[in-house]
Symmetry: C2
Subunit: 342 residues, 2 copies
């Protein structure tokens, strides 16, 4: 960082680099942007000059001319309780930040907990302040995906946006197969009264994991008993309430497949209060392999969602969309992680 006479920082510009390297500004810019049409000699001279001067590109000047901001929004549309409670969001946020950082792209965090915030964030995005958005929201009835798409903003959603006319790219874990793996595992462990706590019916995880549960029961030759199905809203407390219902309607259950680790933790609490041992009396299987699975006691046997890969794919797809590629969907496989609860 150069300093002028009075110690004030005078940022070094492309002009300084050009002078230092003995070339024109245009050549410096070409080196900066991939080095096409630049002789090796000039290339070297410029790179050395950049090193010596400590030059860093002024992104505003660049953006002004390219029309891109080289930044991306992470838009979370979720009631704040869930953001506070569910570690999945942190995992996703963390790995997206990391993945973007490795490409030197800053992530603008936007949280829309209510209609007002949704509107404000939408306006900001539509003003072109970001090149695209990573959309995270469990409730896929959310119209925001469609609105962004309609405005021509590249979007990649985490989880399939239900009800959007398939114009939106998304990345999701294979929910149905994950459910299948867990239910089959429970069955093969000898459980025969397998209940489930599903997620909200307006979320892909709520729908698909329940479907996987039903299918697998049928495959195993077990009847599907509606008394064994209770719905939660992905919160820990809702898991506890669902377990209580289940216990009341079917005291003989010997296993529960829960559609999220956080809810499974609530189920564990309810089971303990009811005096049932886990996994002795009742086996409990979760979903996510989130940090909550390890914090639970006993630690949860669960289905791992490959959040790292999910984030990587989301970022990759968003970049592709920004680059003009058509939308696409990526489904990633899940994996059973065996611990103590089942």
């Amino acid at each position: 960082m150069n300093r002028g006479p009075e110690g004030r920082r005078r940022p070094v510009t492309i002009h300084d680099v050009a002078r230092e390297a003995g070339v024109s500004r245009g050549t410096v810019s070409r080196v900066l942007n991939g080095g096409h049409y630049v002789s090796p000699a000039a290339q070297t001279a410029v790179n050395n000059a950049i090193r010596r001067t400590g030059y860093v590109v002024n992104r505003h000047a660049r953006s002004l001319i390219t029309g891109r901001s080289d930044s991306v929004a992470f838009l979370l549309t979720e009631p704040q309780e869930r953001f506070f409670e569910d570690p999945n969001f942190n995992v996703l946020l963390r790995s997206c930040t990391q993945e973007l950082a490795s490409q030197d792209i800053p992530l603008l965090l936007m949280i829309a907990g209510n209609e007002d915030e949704r509107r404000r964030n939408l306006r900001y995005i539509q003003a072109g302040h970001v090149d695209g958005v990573l959309l995270v929201s469990s409730h896929s009835g959310d119209p925001v995906a469609g609105e962004l798409d309609a405005a021509g903003i590249p979007v990649v959603a985490c989880g399939k946006p239900i009800g959007q006319q398939a114009r939106i790219s998304y990345v999701a874990a294979d929910d149905r197969d994950g459910a299948r793996q867990m239910v089959r595992f429970l069955y093969e462990s000898g459980r025969r009264r397998i209940a489930t706590v599903s997620g909200p019916p307006d979320t892909p995880g709520g729908v698909e994991r329940l479907a996987g549960y039903r299918e697998t029961l049928a495959e195993c030759g077990l009847p599907v008993d509606e008394a064994l199905i209770a719905a939660g809203d992905y919160s820990r407390a809702s898991g506890g309430r669902a377990a209580e219902q289940l216990l009341e309607r079917a005291p003989d259950i010997d296993a529960v497949f829960v559609a999220s680790d956080l809810m499974a933790d609530g189920v564990l609490d309810a089971l303990a209060r009811a005096g049932r041992s886990v996994p002795g009396d009742v086996a409990v299987g979760g979903f996510d392999d989130s940090p909550a699975a390890l914090a639970a006691a006993p630690r949860l046997t669960t289905i791992r969602q490959p959040f790292d890969r999910i984030s990587k794919e989301m970022v990759r797809m968003l970049m592709a969309r920004i680059g003009g590629e058509d939308p696409a969907a990526v489904i990633l496989p899940t994996e059973l992680v065996r611990r103590e609860s089942a």
Copy 2:
């Protein structure tokens, strides 16, 4: 949003507004920047033109000339386990985002979980891509605050940065007084063998809350028994381990003041495993009033940190710093929240 002949978006510029309003670009700009030296008539004409055209300022062009980016970084330097586990971060992140959004300032999220990431983020920040940084890190030995300050970047830390030569602005809750309130409350409830689980000794909360514990015991005429003091690292698991130590060293404890809600939740688990009832046998007091306090069973009696005000103050102070004001510290009062655990 105007569209050109082929439906491509052609962003409306200050030029379009000027033409529409029948004034010069300079006048439009003046209206945009506070309306000084502008006649009411021109003011009105410009505002109408802005409305009609749907004009939104191009921040890059503005930044290029003002030299400010009108954005702020939220830098979290924390091992990722803690970010995943501790809801305090989410609360802070959420309310800072919100506070900044209300001023139309985007928040760039940066997470530094290791040395590499620290370095990269530092470089990014020093390149002037943000106007200032909100620094959140429980471990205040962290040199990043000093490095940023040395580079002339305005910084406001959450919690007192220990070991920094007081040049850094910070906002903190009154940790010592919070501890005092809790210990006194425990004493006045009739408890006499009051233990504590403290935070890490290299964090302000670790130091101050422990100090408050000691002082208050002394004020109450109770001896300070070192066997009643165990340290955690703010994780839930460490709370459990500390409680086990405490129980072993001093089976007769009848209360524990825990320096964070998350650790208190771990203490609750350990107590349950040891067959102690809460608050019957042992009263448990937490600290933070984080979402973890409500998720715990029984729900935690705790000390509320005013996170909303903390965030507001952090943002306000950062803006002041950016505007050239000298550093300052703000200490906010805490409050006892009585629930079931004590």
